[in-house]
Structure formats: structure tokens, C-alpha cells
């Protein structure tokens, strides 16, 4: 029972962190049809910036998150304008290569600036202990990650389903050319959603630093995980991404607890089964 409970909490926290990072990837992929392997690189930049602000400058955790999100978005804007713009409508191979190239550059430059050691982001005292739920106590940080994930999901749902921007976004996802013809300024929609996606990636990089340690090859190590989440959930679908994250988080965490010697074997086996059965993802639109 104890094991089941800790697996459930870890799986939920891991799934939520995955969700915060990859939901942006899912939206941009559904919107711009760019297979963005560099998404993890932005999460990594967020982690490094937060670590620098919180640990080396001593600004604290909250400031660290703020610096990470704002800083990463500022770094990402010129990259979007100069490089990603050229990828819209290109073949998958081109997109994969360009974004792998960007990832390599980010890894190289980040490690040149910050050095090739593992970075920690010191937690504030409030998040270090454990929270008593009455019948069980769980690590406060895990709870924080879960709550943040839920808030992000709710906020995104509100943004996309209930605001004017959301209507334009959905229109552009469905048919960019038609939306543009009807007066939606798609390039602004693209730019804003790209910025939101990158900001969320950075946020997830900071939130998840306890589960996915911020280290030199972070971008390369988790690149695949984020892409897998999007593919399993279905590009552009928020409920799909949430479902995929919880499912894959559960499979991965259970596998690690119960059969650690198999590594990620079951994770990828599940991925193959799901992608074969649902080529468009669990909740992806058929087209």
C-alpha cells in the first residue's frame, strides 16, 4: 500500500512536470507543424537561469522562476524570428535536423557559459519538508509540482476555450490559411503561442529540476521524452497531452519502482503499442 501510494504520487508529479514542459510543444506542433526537438533545450536554459539566479545570485526560488521564464522567452524570440520562421512548411527531416542543430548549439553554449557540472536550484524552506495529508505525508515539492501542473492546465484551458485569443488560436490550428483570410493575424498568434510555449518549457524545467536534474546533456536526454508525449497525446490537444503525461508518467514510474533493471524498456514498449494503435495520438484529430 505504501509502495502503491508513493508510486502514485511520484507518477503524478512526474506526469505534471512532463505536462508543463511538453504542453507548449504540443500546441506549437499542432499550430505550426514544426517538429521541434529543441524544446527541451529551452527547458534546460530555464533550469540554468533559475539555478544561476537562485543559487549564485541568491535571489530565491520565486525570483529564480521569474528570471527563468522571462529570460528564456527573451532568448527564444530572436531564434524564432531568424530560424524557426524558415521551418514552417518544410519537410520533417529538415525540421528535425535544424532543431537538433539548435539543441547542439544550446548545449555547447550553455556549458561554455555555466560550466559542465550538475546545477541545483535550492528550494525555499516551505517546499523542503513534507506535507501531512492526514493519512499520509508527501514531499511538499512533489505537491507543488502537481498543483502547478493543474494550474497550468486550467489556465491554458481558459485561455484557449474562453478568450478571443483562444478562438483565433484554434482557428489557426484548424486551418491557418483560412484563418488568415478571415482577418486573423496568424503571425502574431504564432509568435504569442511560441512565447507562451517557451515560457512554459522554462517553468517546467525549473519545477521539474528535482525529478529531471539540470545537467549538461539535459536537452538531449529528455528531447525524446517530450516528443514522445506529444506524439502519444496527439499534437495540438491539451486533454490529449495531459492524458499522455499521466499515462506515460505512470508507466515509467511504475517500471522504475518495480523492475528497475529493465530501465525504460516498458516505457518505449508502451509508446510503440500506443503509437501503432493510434497513429494520430490518443486524442489527436483525424485528418
Amino acid at each position: 500500500m505504501q509502495t502503491v501510494f508513493s508510486i502514485a504520487v511520484d507518477a503524478l508529479a512526474y506526469g505534471m512536470v512532463l505536462f508543463v514542459i511538453s504542453i507548449g510543444l504540443s500546441v506549437t506542433m499542432g499550430l505550426m507543424r514544426v517538429v521541434n526537438l529543441a524544446h527541451g533545450a529551452f527547458a534546460m536554459i530555464g533550469g540554468y537561469l533559475a539555478s544561476y539566479a537562485a543559487r549564485d545570485l541568491g535571489l530565491g526560488y520565486a525570483a529564480g522562476i521569474l528570471v527563468a521564464v522571462v529570460g528564456t522567452v527573451i532568448i527564444a524570440i530572436p531564434i524564432e524570428r531568424l530560424l524557426y520562421r524558415r521551418l514552417y512548411g518544410a519537410t520533417e527531416l529538415t525540421q528535425v535536423l535544424m532543431t537538433i542543430g539548435i539543441t547542439f548549439c544550446v548545449i555547447g553554449i550553455t556549458n561554455f557559459i555555466f560550466g559542465p557540472t550538475l546545477k541545483t536550484i535550492p528550494l525555499p524552506p516551505a517546499l523542503q519538508g513534507s506535507v501531512d495529508l492526514g493519512f499520509r505525508s508527501i514531499a511538499a515539492h512533489r505537491l507543488f509540482a502537481i498543483v502547478c501542473g493543474l494550474i497550468v492546465a486550467a489556465a491554458l484551458w481558459f485561455l484557449i476555450e474562453r478568450t478571443a485569443f483562444g478562438i483565433r488560436l484554434r482557428a489557426a490550428v484548424d486551418n491557418a490559411a483560412m484563418a488568415a483570410a478571415l482577418g486573423v493575424r496568424t503571425e502574431i498568434v504564432y509568435a504569442v503561442s511560441f512565447a507562451v510555449a517557451i515560457g512554459l518549457a522554462a517553468l517546467g524545467g525549473v519545477l521539474g529540476a528535482e525529478l529531471l536534474p539540470v545537467e549538461p546533456y539535459y536537452a538531449l536526454r529528455y528531447m525524446v521524452t517530450f516528443l514522445v508525449v506529444v506524439s502519444v497525446g496527439g499534437a495540438g490537444s491539451i486533454p490529449g497531452a495531459l492524458l499522455a503525461c499521466l499515462l506515460l508518467g505512470a508507466i515509467d514510474t511504475t517500471g522504475r519502482y518495480l523492475a528497475p533493471e529493465y530501465g525504460e524498456f516498458f516505457f518505449y514498449l508502451a509508446v510503440i503499442v500506443i503509437v501503432t494503435l493510434f497513429p494520430r495520438g490518443l486524442l489527436g484529430r483525424s485528418k
Binding site: P116, V224, L227, L269
Partner: protein, 336 residues
């Protein structure tokens, strides 16, 4: 053309020369010449050159499915690693240490892996296909890690002692035999592939890349073409893996890694997809750069290869070979 009709003998000469060139003799000659130059220029670095040869086989095999058939995959090292482990296990556990037999075993296990991953990867298109290929390479990696009784797990498979080639040429400490053996393999495979891609089957594969629907309408089965190409590609990659097992006498888990798959793709694109020369040039440039630069600082190497990749995608989408060839032919046309 007018010259050809007036002067018969020179036209005949020309066509023979052209046919030889098309048959890959020039390429084979280039491999031998460049190989010999490498042999004399870097006698102390033959291990690197041999590794380059083995990886060139992997990139050639990737070119078959990505360049000629248009299947984007990030899991091609599965085929290479299968060949390496096949040859290695044959030698370490079954005592089959005759190098040619080991190579043959590598080719067989490689094509078996090609069949398996082809069946999985070809079920989907686009993003799903990429993700499936990634899942396949990770699955192979974890399986090899788990089956440590056979593969040695993360310690690597050791105890591979290849016998002398034909009982005459011992594998020496300096890797001369291994290097020459690798060069011969590469040359033979290159000529075979050159014939393959110019055969009707090769044309059909290109047709699949250009327009699937049309090929289906012609009455050919797209999936069967792709699957057959995957098996052939697996044999080529398996030969490369076997070569790496024979020359280094050890097989590590890195031969089944996502990183190797991604690097192979990078090499292919750097050189130029859809051309056997491009595949080999890309491998040479990438590995030479890697060797020199990562000796200085591995992170500088990553930055530079990343920038190079972005530059190639933006400014020379046909790769080094394709863009140079295009440039030369434009010059010629401009002159004529």
C-alpha cells in the same frame, strides 16, 4: 550529342567511360585512393580511420532508407548495433571467429533487425514515424542492456578474438589488417549499392520517395518496396557493425544508442541525402571534425556541429556533395 553522331569511336569511348563511372568504378577508385592516402598520412591513427569506415557503412545504409526512400528515422543505429552484437556474440559465445563468417553473421542479424524495425517504423508516417523509430532504438538498447548474460550489458561484450583473414593476415596491434579489411568491405558494398540504386528496384524506391500514390496507382506495393529496402539496409549496417566488432574486439551499448542514430543522420545530411558519395563525404567530414575538435573541448564541438547543421539546412539543403555537384553542373551549363 552532335559530336557523338559524327565521331563513332570517341562516342563509344565516352559511353564506356560513362558507364564505368556510373557503375561506381570511379567511386571505388576514390575510396581506395583516399584510403591509401589516409593509410600513409595517419599511420598512427588507423583505429579512427577504421571506425570511419564502419560508420560510413552505417550512413550508407541510412541513405538507402532516408535518402532513396524518404523515410526519416532516428533509430538506424539499431541495425548497426544488431550487426555488431551478432558478430560479437558469434565470436565470444559460439567460437565463430573467422572474420568473413563474422561479417556474414553481422549482415544477417543486421537485416533481421532491419526487418523488425522496418515492420514497426513503416506502420506510421510523419511525426509518429519518427517517434516509433526513436522508441525502437531505445527498446533495442534496453533489451541489450538487460540481456547482459549474452551482451555483457553496460560493461560491453568483450572476448572477441577474430582469426586471421583467410588464415594469412593476422589482426595486428596497429590495426593495419583491420583497416584494409574495412576498406575492402566498404569498396565492395559501395559497388553493390551503386548497382542496386541504379537497378529498376532502386528506381522504384525513388519513385516511392517522390510520389507514393502514383507508385501505388502503378500497381506496386509501397510497403513491400520499403520493407525490402529496410532489410538490404540492415545488411549494410550489419556489415558496418561487424567491422566495428572485429576491429575494436569489443561491442558497447553505445553502438545501439539514440546518439549514434542522430549522429548518423547528421552525417548523412551534412554530406547530402540521396547520393552514396554524399553519405561517405559527410561521414569523413563529421568524424574528422569530431576527432580534432572534441579533443580540445567536447562542448565546442557540439556548438560547431550544431551551427554547421543549421547552416547546411538553411544554405545548402542538398548537403556538401549535392550542393557542390549542383554548383559544378551550373558552371558547366553556364559555359556551354
Amino acid at each position: 550529342m552532335t559530336v557523338a553522331s559524327t565521331d563513332h569511336s570517341s562516342a563509344a569511348n565516352l559511353s564506356i567511360a560513362r558507364r564505368l563511372a556510373d557503375g561506381g568504378l570511379i567511386g571505388a577508385l576514390a575510396i581506395v585512393v583516399i584510403g591509401a592516402i589516409g593509410y600513409y598520412l595517419f599511420p598512427n591513427n588507423l583505429a579512427l580511420l577504421t571506425r570511419m569506415t564502419a560508420i560510413a557503412l552505417l550512413v550508407l545504409s541510412l541513405d538507402l532508407v532516408t535518402g532513396y526512400c524518404g523515410v526519416a528515422t532516428l533509430g538506424h543505429a539499431a541495425l548497426f548495433g544488431a550487426g555488431a552484437y551478432g558478430a560479437g556474440i558469434a565470436a565470444a559465445h559460439f567460437g565463430i571467429s573467422e572474420p568473413l563468417t563474422m561479417t556474414l553473421v553481422g549482415a544477417l542479424t543486421g537485416s533481421a533487425a532491419g526487418l523488425v524495425s522496418g515492420v514497426v517504423i513503416l506502420r506510421a508516417h510523419g511525426l509518429a514515424q519518427l517517434v516509433l523509430s526513436i522508441a525502437v532504438i531505445h527498446l533495442f538498447h534496453e533489451a541489450a542492456n538487460k540481456a547482459s548474460a549474452w551482451t555483457g550489458g553496460s560493461d560491453g561484450l568483450s572476448g572477441i578474438m577474430p582469426e586471421a583473414v583467410f588464415g594469412l593476415f593476422e589482426f595486428d596491434l596497429w590495426g593495419q589488417t583491420a583497416y584494409i579489411y574495412g576498406l575492402v568491405l566498404l569498396t565492395v558494398v559501395f559497388v553493390a549499392l551503386r548497382i542496386l540504386v541504379r537497378s529498376p528496384f532502386g528506381m522504384l524506391a525513388r519513385g516511392v520517395r517522390e510520389d507514393r500514390i502514383r507508385i501505388t496507382a502503378m500497381g506496386a506495393s509501397v510497403n513491400s518496396v520499403l520493407l525490402r529496402m529496410y532489410v538490404i539496409s540492415g545488411a549494410v549496417a550489419g556489415i558496418g557493425g561487424a567491422l566495428s566488432a572485429i576491429s575494436t574486439q569489443v561491442v558497447g551499448l553505445d553502438s545501439l544508442s539514440f546518439t549514434l542514430s542522430a549522429e548518423a543522420l547528421v552525417m548523412l545530411v551534412l554530406g547530402g541525402t540521396g547520393s552514396l558519395y554524399g553519405a561517405m563525404i559527410g561521414t569523413m567530414v563529421f568524424m574528422w571534425f569530431e576527432d580534432t575538435l572534441s579533443a580540445i573541448n567536447p562542448f565546442h564541438w557540439l556548438t560547431i556541429i550544431g551551427a554547421l547543421l543549421v547552416a547546411v539546412v538553411l544554405f545548402a539543403p542538398k548537403g556538401l556533395y549535392g550542393s557542390t555537384a549542383g554548383f559544378v553542373s551550373r558552371l558547366r551549363r553556364g559555359r556551354g
